[in-house]
């Protein structure tokens, strides 16, 4: 049984296209979900877009942010920065590394997610990580590209909302490592 309360944090990652203007478009990029059982176990997951739409890339200064041509590779780096830091602070570390930059990191606590979580057995851990993966997938469904601008000349054609297939997602669970290390301790 965990001796200290478990904590869960969700970090929304997005890219502001002009930090000098308060009304600038913001491009959704991904989510990190972190669950921590203090001194026992940690789980960190990332879900994110693997490409931006053409009209979104037009808003990005690719000379400075070339990695946004492959946004998930960039997000993976943010994930590694968070995983390498203090438990529970993956989002805070991302905020600190990318302070005042266009990479916006908004963190929300969601401890209720772990209220019924039981990690004292392999089956329990599997159940919890499946739940966390499902939560991350649900968050990923919120990742919609920016709506393309309406043409200013002539009648604006009706554009269909981008299909899910236009936003390929990858899920990269990294959390199981930590539990497996604990399980090997005599």
């Amino acid at each position: 049984m965990a001796s200290l309360p478990a904590k869960a944090r969700e970090s929304r990652l997005s890219f502001c296209t002009d930090m000098t203007k308060s009304s600038a478009s913001v491009i959704p990029l991904g989510y990190m979900l972190e669950a921590v059982w203090p001194d026992e176990a940690r789980w960190l997951g990332l879900i994110g877009r693997t490409k931006l739409m053409g009209h979104e890339l037009e808003l990005v200064n690719l000379a400075t942010w070339p990695d946004l041509e492959k946004p998930f590779t960039f997000l993976d780096k943010v994930f590694d920065q968070g995983w390498g830091g203090e438990w529970g602070n993956a989002g805070v570390i991302a905020q600190s590394v990318w302070l005042r930059s266009p990479l916006l990191v908004v963190i929300d606590d969601n401890d209720d997610l772990l209220k019924e979580a039981e990690i004292d057995s392999e089956a329990g851990w599997t159940s919890v990580t499946d739940m966390l993966a499902a939560r991350l997938t649900m968050l990923g469904q919120k990742l919609r590209p920016l709506m393309p601008p309406t043409p200013s000349v002539g009648l604006a054609p009706i554009r269909p909302f981008p299909r899910r297939a236009d936003i390929p997602l990858r899920f990269a669970p990294h959390g199981r490592r930590m539990f497996e290390e604990f399980a090997n301790v005599a």
């Binding site: 000098t20 009304s23 000379a63 400075t64 905020q95 930059s101 266009p102 916006l104």
Partner: protein, 253 residues
């Protein structure tokens, strides 16, 4: 010569230098940022974006942020524009009664350490870092070593823009009047992007600093409202800065 911001950003910087206190009612546009939750993003009615600092009351922070900007602007250096604001009532996030508004200067600036520069870009950045090295030694800044609190942006024409922000850890935060010793190792042996500074640029910046009359420094410090810095502290700081400016060449050249 060391500033190259977009025209709308530069115009506003000029306005900030002329008007220390902003009376614009701003709104909170996001949660606190930074490991210590020291800054809150805000939206100005003008459409500009800034960070209100500090998020928690820290005596002197507002004065240091604003003074550093004014001094840097006087010398022509690319510091983030700052204004003082008391428009902190009835916001969706509680702020101290007085804050510094630190404006964002680059549209998509990237933290300096998170971008690999070509040798040509390093050469282009060297004069700016050299100039900032002299300035940081003058105001005894402690928060920009190694490229911290610095953003860089590559422009479509191949040039680079740099912006330096967050000056809470400067001026009297680390020393009080009379001026503390300037012979610190960080100034004599700079490292990281400040390593190998251009001596011509160093001398030029020091000349500009030394050309600022004591009366001008007193006037700038005296502009601060008394709830940001007392008149006595302001006068003492001006004297210390003036004295420190005269010592720079012996340390840096």
């Amino acid at each position: 010569m060391w500033r190259s911001f977009e025209p709308h950003v530069e115009r506003f910087a000029s306005a900030c230098a002329s008007q220390a206190v902003s009376t614009d009612r701003f709104s909170i546009s996001g949660p606190p940022a930074g490991g210590g939750s020291t800054a809150v993003p805000v939206a100005m009615p003008s459409g500009l974006a800034a960070y209100a600092k500090p998020a928690r009351a820290q005596p002197g922070d507002v004065a240091r942020e604003w003074l550093a900007f004014m001094l840097g602007y006087r010398v022509g250096l690319p510091l983030a524009s700052v204004q003082i604001s008391r428009e902190t009532a009835n916001l969706t996030f509680p702020l101290p009664p007085v804050v510094a508004l630190s404006y964002n200067m680059l549209a998509q600036g990237r933290p300096f350490g998170q971008l690999t520069l070509s040798p040509q870009e390093q050469d282009a950045a060297r004069p700016i870092f050299s100039a900032m090295h002299a300035f940081h030694a003058w105001i005894d800044d402690h928060d920009h070593f190694g490229g911290a609190n610095t953003h860089i942006e590559r422009m479509p024409d191949g040039s680079i823009q740099l912006s330096f922000f967050d000056y809470s850890f400067s001026l009297t935060h680390q020393w009080g009047p009379p001026a503390s010793p300037i012979h610190r190792n960080e100034w004599k042996h700079p490292t990281g992007p400040y390593a190998n500074p251009d001596p011509l640029v160093i001398n030029r910046v020091i000349d500009l600093i030394q050309q600022i009359p004591l009366t001008d420094l007193q006037s700038v410090a005296g502009t601060l409202p008394p709830d940001c810095m007392s008149a006595g502290d302001g006068a003492a700081l001006a004297a210390a800065l003036h004295q420190r400016g005269q010592q720079l060449k012996a340390v840096l050249t």
